[in-house]
Amino acid sequence: METLVTLLLALPIAGFGATALVGRRLGRQAFWLPVGAIVTAWAVGMVVAFSALTGQPPFTGEHGQGFGFSLYRWIPAGDFTVDLGLYVDNLTAALLIVVCTVGMLVHVYSIGYMEHDPGYWRFFAYLNLFMFSMLLLVLADNFLVLFVAWELVGLCSYLLIGFWYKRRSAALAAKKAFIVNRVGDLGFSLGIFAVWTTVGTLNFQDAFRGLDQKIAAGALEPWMVTGIALLIFTGAVGKSAQFPLHVWLPDAMEGPTPVSALIHAATMVNAGVYMVARANPIFAQAPEAMVVVAGVGIFTAILAASIAFTQNDIKRVLAYSTLSQLGYMFAGLGVGAFTAAIFHLVTHGFFKGLLFLGSGSVIHAVHEEQDMRKMGGLARRIPWTYATMLVGSLAMAGIPPLAGFFSKDEILGSAFRNGFLVVWAVGFVVAGMSAFYMFRMMGLTFWGESRVDPHVAAKIHESPWSMRVPLVLLAAATVVIGALLGWPLEGGTIHAWLDPLFEPARELLGLEHEAFGGLDVALVLASVAMATLGLAGAVRLFGAGAGRFRWPARLADRDALVASVPGARFLYRASVNKWWFDDLYHLLFVVIGGRAGAALRWFDERIVDGSVNGIATVTVAAGRGLRVIQTGRVQNYAMGIALGLVALTLAYLAGLFR
C-alpha cells in the first residue's frame, strides 16, 4: 500500500517533470504524458480509496482506521521534527474519489478544449503539478505537509489563473488570488505554530490526542483552543474563498475553464472544508469556533447567492454559486454535520465540475464569449452540452433524486435538528435563490432567442468527443452518486464510511444520532418546495416560455419586478457591484496601502538616509574648513612632525610623563 500511495503522488509529479522538460518539443502531442499519468493515477487512487473504504488490509480495525507512513524526515530541528508523512483514512478516500475522478476527466476534457492554445504543454504541466499538490494535500499526515500542499495548490492556482498572462486582467486576477490566499495562509501558519507550541507535534493524530490530554488535564485554557481553531479556520476561509476573503474566486475565472472546473470548483476550494473536517477534534473542543464557522459559512452562502443573481458572465455566476455552496459546507461543519458537509463536498465536486466543463463547452461553441447577454437559444445547437448542464443545474438546485438534493438537505436538516435555526432559515432561503440563479443562467444561455453575434452564430458547433465524454460521465455520476451514497437519508453509505471518524467529535459536542423521522420529511419537502419555487420563478422570467417572453419584454418585466419591491433598487445595485467589497478592499489596501508605502519610502530616503547623508555633509564641510592646513608642501608636513616632536619633548621635560 505504501507503494501505491507513493505512486499516487509520483505519477503526477513525474508527468509534470517530463512535460516541463520535453513538452515544448511535443507540440500537439504533449498531452499523452500528462494525461496518461493522471489516468493511471486515477486508477491507483480508486484502488487506494476503495481499499480504505472497504477496510482491506492494511486499513484494519472496525472503524476503518487510517493507514499512515513516512517517506522521510523532512525538517529535523531539535525537538521540532516533521516527516513527509502520508495518511489515508476514509475521509482521505472520499476526497481521493472526487479529486482523482474530476481531475482525470478535466485532463481528458482539456485535450480538446486547449487544442488551439500555444501554451498546450505548459497547461498540462501546470495541471499535473496541481494534481500532485492536491493529492499531497489530502494525503498529508501532519499540519506542515498539509500547509506545504496548501501553498502549492495556491501556486498552481496562481499559474493557471494567469495562464493567459498577456491579458492584464488575468495577471491581476492571478496575483489577487495568491495574495488573498496568503492572508488566510498567515492565519493557518500561526495556527500551526500554536499547535506545535501547545502539544509539541504537528502530526494530526498525535496532535489531536495530545490536545485532548492537555484539555483533560486542564493544562489549556478554553480560549486557547478556540484561538487555535479560529486561526486554522482562517486558512480555510482563504482557500475556500469564504467571507471576507471571498473576493479572489470570481476573478479567478480569468483562467481557462477546465481550471475553473478542477481547481476553483471541484477540488482546491474544497481544501478548507477538508481541513476543518480533518481538524474536527480541535473544533469539537471549541464550540465557539464552530459557531463562527457556521456563521461565516451561511453568511457567505447568502452573500454569494445574492451576487449571483445579477452576474452576466456565465463563469462568474458559477463562481458565486461555488462560493455559496462552499458556504453550505462550512455551515454543515459548523453545526456539527461533518459527514453531511463532506457528502456535499463530494456531490458538489461532481456537479459543479460538470457545470463548469459545460460552461466551457458553451464558451467554446460561441467562440470564447462568456457574456450571457450574447448567448441564448443554444439548446438546439449544442444538445449534448445542454442536456448535461441541465442535469447539473437540477442537481445544484436540489431537485431529487439528483446529487445536490441529498447532501444539501442533510446539511439543512442537521442545522435544524442541532438547534441552529438561523442557519437553517438562511440556508432554506439560499436553496430557493440557488435554484433561481441557476435557471436564470440556463435560461439566458440555452433558451429563448439567440442573441449571438451573427458572425459567430453560423459557426456554433458542438464540442469534440474528448470534451463530450467527460461531460456525459460527470452527468451520469451526478445522477447516481447522491442516491448511491446518500440513500436512505441520514443513513446512507457515506455515513457508514465517515460517521465513525467523526463520532468522538459528535460525542464531545453532545449531538445525538436521530433516526430519520417525520420532522425530517417535512424539512425535505419544504426545501424541495423552495427550490422548485426558485426554479419556477427563473423559468417564468428567463425561461423558454414561448414567444411571450422575448428578451426586451423580459427585461421590462424584470425592471417592473425590481421596481415593485421596496428597497429592491438598492439590493439590485448591491448585487451588481458585489456589495462593493472589491472597491472597499481596493481603497483599503491598494490606495491607502500604496500611500503608506510611498510615505515610508519618503521617510526612508529623506529621514533615515537623509540623516546619514547629513552626517556626511557636516563632515565634508568641516573638511573644507580644515583644508587650509593642507598646503600640499612636504616641508609643511615635516614641520608638523618636528613640532609634534618638540611638543612631546617639552612635555617630557616638564615631567608630564613621569
Partner: protein, 181 residues
Amino acid sequence: MTIPATVPVLGWAWDDLLFLGLAGILLGAALLVVLGRDIIHSGLWMMLCFGALAGVYALLGAPLVAVAQVLVYVGAISVLVLFAIMLTQSKAGPLRLVFHRQAWVAAIASIVLFALFVVVVAEGDWPQRAAEVTRTATDQLARLLFNDYVLPFEGVGVLLLAAVIGGVYLAKRDPGQGGSL
C-alpha cells in the same frame, strides 16, 4: 722620533685631540651644508663632512665601516649629488630662495631636538658609559655578514638593483619629449 704620549701643550690624549678635530670639522661642514647659499658648495661641504665621519668611524675601531664610508659617501653619493645639482642648474640665489619662510621655526625645533638628545644621553642608563673602544675584527665581520646576515645581505643587494633600475627609469628622458633639461 717618538711621539709623546699626550699632546704636548694641552696635555690631552692624542685620541681626544683627533676626536675634537674631526668633530669640529664634521659639525662645521654639516652646518655649511645646510646654511650655504650656493648649492654646489653645499655639495662639496657634504663631501668633507662625510670624510670627517669616516675618520670618526676609524676612531671607533670600525675600519671597514670607515672605508665603506669613504667609498660610498665621499665617493659615490657625493658625486651623484653633484651631478644632480649640475643637471638641475641651480645656482646661489637670494636668501628667500634658499630658505623657507619657516626656517626660523625649523631652527628652534632642531635646537630643541638637540636639547632632547642631550637630556636623553645625560639621563640614559648606559652600561659602558666610558670604556675602552672595542675594535671590530674584519674576518669576524665577514663571517657574520655571510652567515647570520646573508638573507638581509641578499635583500639589500636586490634592493640596490631595484634602486638602480628605478633610478635609470625615472631619470631617463622620454623619447618623445625631446628638448634640453
